[in-house]
Symmetry: C2
Subunit: 199 residues, 2 copies
Amino acid sequence: MAFSPLIQNLIDALRCLPGVGPKSAQRMAFHLLQRDRPGAARLADALVKAVDNVGECAECRLLTEQPICDICASPRRDRSLMCIVESPADVFALEQATDYSGVYFVLMGRLSPLDGIGPKELGLERLEARFAAGEVKEIILATNPTVEGEATAQYIAEMAHEHNVVTSRIAHGVPIGGELEYVDSGTLSHAFAGRREYR
Amino acid sequence: MAFSPLIQNLIDALRCLPGVGPKSAQRMAFHLLQRDRPGAARLADALVKAVDNVGECAECRLLTEQPICDICASPRRDRSLMCIVESPADVFALEQATDYSGVYFVLMGRLSPLDGIGPKELGLERLEARFAAGEVKEIILATNPTVEGEATAQYIAEMAHEHNVVTSRIAHGVPIGGELEYVDSGTLSHAFAGRREYR
C-alpha cells in the first residue's frame, strides 16, 4: 500500500531539506499532519515569504530582504576593513564569535571550475571594482580551509595585491579544546608550520 | 547582529519539525535560500495542500484526502478482522512488514488522562459502535508496549469482550537480530513469560 498522493507529495518535498532522508521525512509529515497543522501552515507561509522577498545585499551579497543589509547600512561599521566569507552562515558565525567591526563580502560559494563556478559567479568583478574604488584598505580572507576555499583565497589575495589592499588569512590550527591525538594530519601540519612566538 | 526578520521567521518556523533544533533550522533555512529556492516553494505548496486537504478516513481515522481511505474502500480487505494501532505511521509500517489483509482502526493517540486524552478523543465510541454492529469478528491490538499503550489495549479488550469479539495482542519479546545481553529487563521478562512451545 502506498501513502495517499498528497501525503507522499509532502514526504517527497520534505526531502529537499538538508539531512532529511526518507524515514525522517515520513516522520515529519505525520507529525505535522497529526499534531501540528498550525505549525505546518506557519512554515508554508514563512517559506513563501522568504523565497519571495529575501535577496542579496547589493554591496556584500548577504541574504537580506532590504536592498542593503543591516551591516553595510550601519554607520558604526568600518568600511575600510572587509572580511571575505563563503556563505551567509559564516557571517552570522563570525558576528556571534568576534567583535569584528568591519564589513563583509559574501562569495556565495567558492571557486570550483568543474561545477561551473568561476570568478563571475562569486561576484569577484564587483569585489575588484570595490578594491579599485580605493575605499577598502584591508581584507581578511575567511574562506574555508578546503582545497577550493584555499584556491579562492589565493585568487582574491592576488586581486587585492594589485590594488595595494593589505591582506590577511584567518589562522588554521588545532581547535581550542581539541586534542593533538585526534586532530587530522593536515590540520596538525598547518598548526606546526604556522606556529607563533610564545611570550 | 540578528538575522533579518524574514530569515529569522523561517528559522523559527522550521523548528516545528520534529528533531530540528536551532542549529539545524538555521542550516536548513540557509540551504533553501541559497541553493534550493524551487525546493522551498515546492515544500510550501505541498504543506498547504496537505494541511488543507488531508483529513481522517471516516471509518478507520487513517490520514487520507478521500472520505474513505484506500484500505477501507478496498473490496479485497477482510472487514471482519481489525487491527488497532496508535498512529497512521504504524499502519504503513505494518503494511510494509506483513501481508495482513484485514482493516485498521487508528486511535490517533493513546489513553492518557493527564494530557486530557480519554476514550472520546481516541474515537472509542465509534469503535464500540462498530463492535456492536457485529461486522467485526476479531481484533488485533497493536498499540505500543508502553504503559499508556498497554492501558489502551486493556480498555479496548474489555470493550471487545462485551461484544464477543475475539481479541489478540501482538507479541512482545526480544527483537529479531537483537542480543539478550543488550535487551532491557522489561522486554526480557516479557519474552520469558510469553515463551511458546518449540517444535
